[in-house]
């Protein structure tokens, strides 16, 4: 059984249809990447898995159970955690408090505040600082750490490299093997195609609300990906 199975999902923003009959399957322990241009529907896909949006048609199975009309906080309990676009750390809370909030629905598991500080040592000296005063890279590390605190089986990452310096992006991607070792499956949405293709085990290219191409990065050519990305 796959960890996440999406079947014929159609998602709308009121009257506007953002996703058309999406089918995709995420296996346990892999890094699944969604790529595509702005407005292609990648983030919508992620929000549908996290529960911010619900599909009008189609089903989403997580570990074999239907979750498509479940509230986001219930999905966290089941082991789905989201690193939202734009980081969205809690600005008035300290770094430590942000992490503790991540464990609100405490699933048992390897992730503790100490484990997060070990993964992102840059956060440790900032423990007692308010998150509003952190740099973009520090906030991104905090947002990922906060998600990990719920000990997710599936971690959703929305545009984690957006607006960050290359050295910071590298540091975040370097953390992926540790995440996989802890039992996380990673579902990532990215615009930075080159970088994500080097780590992903499966890639789906979104185009105007549909999946134009999917497969293992090693089996896809650059020409195919470019064609699917731009729709030419």
């Amino acid at each position: 059984m796959s960890l996440l199975e999406i079947t014929d999902a159609s998602v709308y923003y009121e009257d506007f249809q953002a996703l058309y009959d999406i089918n995709l399957t995420v296996e346990e322990g892999e890094i699944f990447a969604c790529i595509g241009a702005n407005g292609a529907g990648k983030s919508t896909m992620l929000k549908t898995v996290s529960g911010v949006l619900t599909p009008r048609r189609g089903t989403i199975l997580f570990d074999g159970q239907p979750i498509d009309h479940m509230q986001p906080h219930k999905r966290v309990e089941m082991g789905i955690s989201m690193v939202p676009e734009g980081r969205r750390v809690f600005p008035s809370l300290t770094v430590q408090e942000n992490l503790i909030i991540g464990a609100y629905r405490g699933r048992p598991g390897p992730w503790t505040t100490d484990a997060v500080y070990e993964l992102f040592p840059l956060l440790e000296p900032l423990k007692k600082r308010q998150a509003s005063g952190l740099s973009g890279g520090e906030q991104q590390a905090l947002a990922i750490g906060r998600s990990l605190m719920s000990n997710p089986r599936l971690i959703l990452m929305d545009e984690v490299s957006l607006g960050l310096a290359p050295v910071v992006i590298k540091r975040i991607y370097d953390a992926f093997p540790t995440l996989l070792e802890s039992g996380c499956t990673i579902f990532v949405v990215e615009q930075d195609v080159q970088h994500v293709l080097t780590v992903a085990s499966h890639v789906a290219c979104f185009l105007e609300g549909r999946i134009a191409l999917q497969g293992k990065p090693s089996e896809l050519t650059n020409e195919q990906i470019t064609a699917a990305y731009f729709g030419v």
Partner: protein
């Protein structure tokens, strides 16, 4: 010495205003809801306490914990059953709906209890005072109310700062969608916030009912005092709200001392307007944005 007496009464009165105001501030802080029914919700517990006292025939002080529980449950259900539906639809809807609740509460109390003034009789403690000298005396009841405001604010600060639920309150206040993604059920948090607000208001409302008489139409005046205390003190700071209450109380009692008691309320409002003009963020504002 009359001035000293007026100042002492003003400070003590400030504690009462703070008890009314922290609930208003808590609700606004966690869900950005401007609760225009808040004033009437300070009157409601007085009537609940009256019913409890009439039914059980004991000292009104003992009715406070029972009334607190009743008001907490009432607040939780009011939020979960009605107000949660409008929290995310914008400020205007919140104002309209809570204004409606205010009218409904006033008229329900008028129907149930008439417009006559009521009182809660706590016996001799109502008139006892500590005599400091010939011209300065501090009433036990105002002093107890003031001390309770200190206790309530301290406990509230500890709750917000140290507990899991308190952290969730602040997280929801910062970013409610991110909070949901972290596994926090906003609807529950908002309902608890309203419950806690009414629980705090009950302490002030019932103590005030013991101290003086009350009737169903006093709510709007208390709403204004609560607003003024919050604005003077600055959003998001409970100690600021106490400071705001004290400044307002002082303005009223010192205004009465200077110009005669008819001027008391007006002087309070004038001081508020002056502070609002000169320092619109309040004295101890603590709101953080990303």
């Amino acid at each position: 010495m009359d001035w000293l007496n007026a100042a002492t009464q003003g400070i003590l009165l400030g504690g009462l205003y703070a008890l009314f105001a922290v609930g208003l501030s808590l609700v606004f802080g966690t869900m950005r809801l401007t609760n225009l029914a808040h004033g009437d919700l300070t009157i409601l517990p007085a009537y609940v306490a009256l019913m409890v006292v009439n039914a059980l025939r004991f000292n009104p002080f003992y009715s406070i914990p029972i009334t607190m529980v009743i008001m907490f449950v009432f607040g939780y259900l009011l939020q979960r059953g009605l107000l949660n539906a409008i929290v995310k639809t914008g400020d205007v809807n919140g104002v309209i709906v809570t204004f409606g609740i205010s009218i409904v509460l006033q008229n329900a109390l008028l129907l149930g209890f008439t417009a006559n003034s009521q009182g809660l009789d706590a016996g001799t403690v109502e008139n006892l005072s500590i005599k400091i000298n010939d011209r300065l005396a501090v009433g036990w009841l105002p002093l107890i109310i003031f001390l309770m405001s200190l206790v309530v604010i301290t406990v509230l600060q500890i709750f917000m700062g140290r507990t899991k639920m308190g952290r969730a309150f602040r997280a929801v206040s910062d970013d409610q969608e991110a909070a949901r993604l972290m596994g926090i059920n906003n609807k529950h948090i908002w309902a608890v916030a309203m419950g806690v607000a009414l629980l705090i208001v009950t302490i002030g409302g019932v103590m005030m009912a013991i101290r003086t008489t009350f009737d169903p139409l006093l709510g709007s005046q208390r709403l204004i005092y609560a607003f003024e205390a919050v604005v003077i003190g600055g959003m998001g700071s409970a100690w600021g709200t106490l400071l705001g209450g004290i400044i307002l109380g002082l303005a009223q009692t010192l205004g009465a001392q200077a110009f005669g008691s008819a001027w008391s309320i007006l002087v309070g409002h004038v001081v508020f307007v002056v502070i609002l003009a000169l320092r619109p963020q309040g004295f101890l504002a603590k709101t953080v944005t990303s």
